[in-house]
Subunit: 324 residues, 2 copies
Amino acid sequence: MAEAAGVSPATVSRVLHGTRPVHPDLRARTLAAAQRLNYRANRVAQALRTRSTGTVGMVVPNVANPFFPVVIQAVEKELRRHGAQLLLCDSGDDVGEEAELVRSLLDHRIDGILFSPCDQLSSRPALRLAAARVPLVQIDRRAVSDVAYVGVDQEGAMREVIEYLIAQGCQRFAYVSSTSRASTAAERLRAYRHTVRGVDARSAQRVYQGSFSLDWGRVAAKQIVDEGDLPDAIVCANDSVALGVLDVLRSQGLRVPDDVLLTGFDDTELASIAWPPLTSVHQPLEMIGRKGAELVLGADGVVAGRSVNLFKAELKIRESSRRR
Amino acid sequence: MAEAAGVSPATVSRVLHGTRPVHPDLRARTLAAAQRLNYRANRVAQALRTRSTGTVGMVVPNVANPFFPVVIQAVEKELRRHGAQLLLCDSGDDVGEEAELVRSLLDHRIDGILFSPCDQLSSRPALRLAAARVPLVQIDRRAVSDVAYVGVDQEGAMREVIEYLIAQGCQRFAYVSSTSRASTAAERLRAYRHTVRGVDARSAQRVYQGSFSLDWGRVAAKQIVDEGDLPDAIVCANDSVALGVLDVLRSQGLRVPDDVLLTGFDDTELASIAWPPLTSVHQPLEMIGRKGAELVLGADGVVAGRSVNLFKAELKIRESSRRR
DNA sequence: ATGAAAGCGCTAACAC
DNA sequence: GTGTTAGCGCTTTCAT
């Protein structure tokens, strides 16, 4: 390429990057040659030299969780706006895999990492390792407090759910969640317990923990029904669980919201499609993704470290929790 | 690293890769040093030298379409099994963006591309460009016939849907789809027309094309209802559309399946959650993703070019299409 | 079996 | 302004 244009490789680089002024003639000659040869710089070589690959890694616990694709989409879009590519990894909610993935990403010399740690405790070593080497932003879930984070205020959102239900006249609650050690699960549970305690101490203990799945929702619902002590409202830690619960309630002849109110969390597409439509907590997913990408690239002038970006979640009230 | 072990860099490389026999002593010394220094090879430098980055690009039209996350997950898993990383790109169903993404991936010297072309015609140039440089596998959607493909037999699946509905006694149909120029949309439509023609020529023309969204399903359903000529079955090109249709039918006091049968396509989580549960076409997403990854890596010994891998889709019959 | 040396394709000093 | 040169961190001849 350099010789095709009859100039030095250095000049080619300068022309293509505008790093330094170049004589118009040489410039033109270079550009012409680039055009003619359909020249495209080898980013691998660039990366080796400049120590910047133009790639950002992202580690999420489960790509198939409808929550993440939207965030991923926003991340990828924002990264591309800055000329960066997304290296996506799914940890399968496994701390070991997760650590492995982080190491692999570091080997690839990614310019930064968006990390959604699957365990608020055990994910720490991997998180520390990565944060020590590249800009890192925790997204949705978090494991340490002195590294940038972006997500919604989980506790605030769950508190809002309960307060709304109380305002609807509910006094006795049950909470269906997962045993997941993700920060989000922990925060939602804490808020549930804390808020519910004010109106009924026993409800604060009525917690069913399994997994974030339809099936667990079904199992938990059966258990609740079998106990023969239906609460006024069943609060779920996410939409899948809530829909599993709904399925069983329906097949047991119990009506939502007539016999029991029901709420989910995340406001995935499932929530609006369900019948009756499910009251849920809507998160600004695009905003979360975009902000995460911005932070990790240091694009907004703020260094990623330390900053905490809490967005407001919005309680989306639908039929499943409307007293009639 | 080389000097830390007191050996030549060449030896280090040979030990770490087992490329050639190395004296046990040196081997041990090298390994010890690697351990001690926590040495991890720089993949960028490796890539520059070996011309293989250990990354594979994937271009999909819309990450948020619930169809893709599962495929992506399977792809990523299989890639990792082979030590490769996934560079994920969302074309947003835009041919221009798509071409840009492909160029960018090539710049990054990915080892292969998994490509879901958004337009069976206009996506060709980008596809050709990429296929000329790296192993390429078309996934789910396709644009050319002489490059590897993996997906389900769309026409066969849609034919099965119609034949099943005919067996249920349906004679008059309407088809709700998208104007998308994706191969999948085209193939499903063709199969609809072809199969339906046998029982009612007019139904073959009764096609409503908008977008693959809930909203379009709603709009189309209103149109169908307003025409005051309800068919026996409304066949939808995907689940979202079908659920939009369902929503409107319900609010208009029409009952599924009592007044009209309804089918979707893709069997996303939405289908089983809907009320009534939606009959849909289930695709082996994990298998598609896994096979795509295998092919693009040349992992199964088969070169990617030319081979066509059609999987069988399975008609999932649920309440929305059961005559009672 | 091992080391020296070249070189992957680029950019950044450094000279002119 | 421009070219020459060194070197990013590896792997791979090529000698030995």
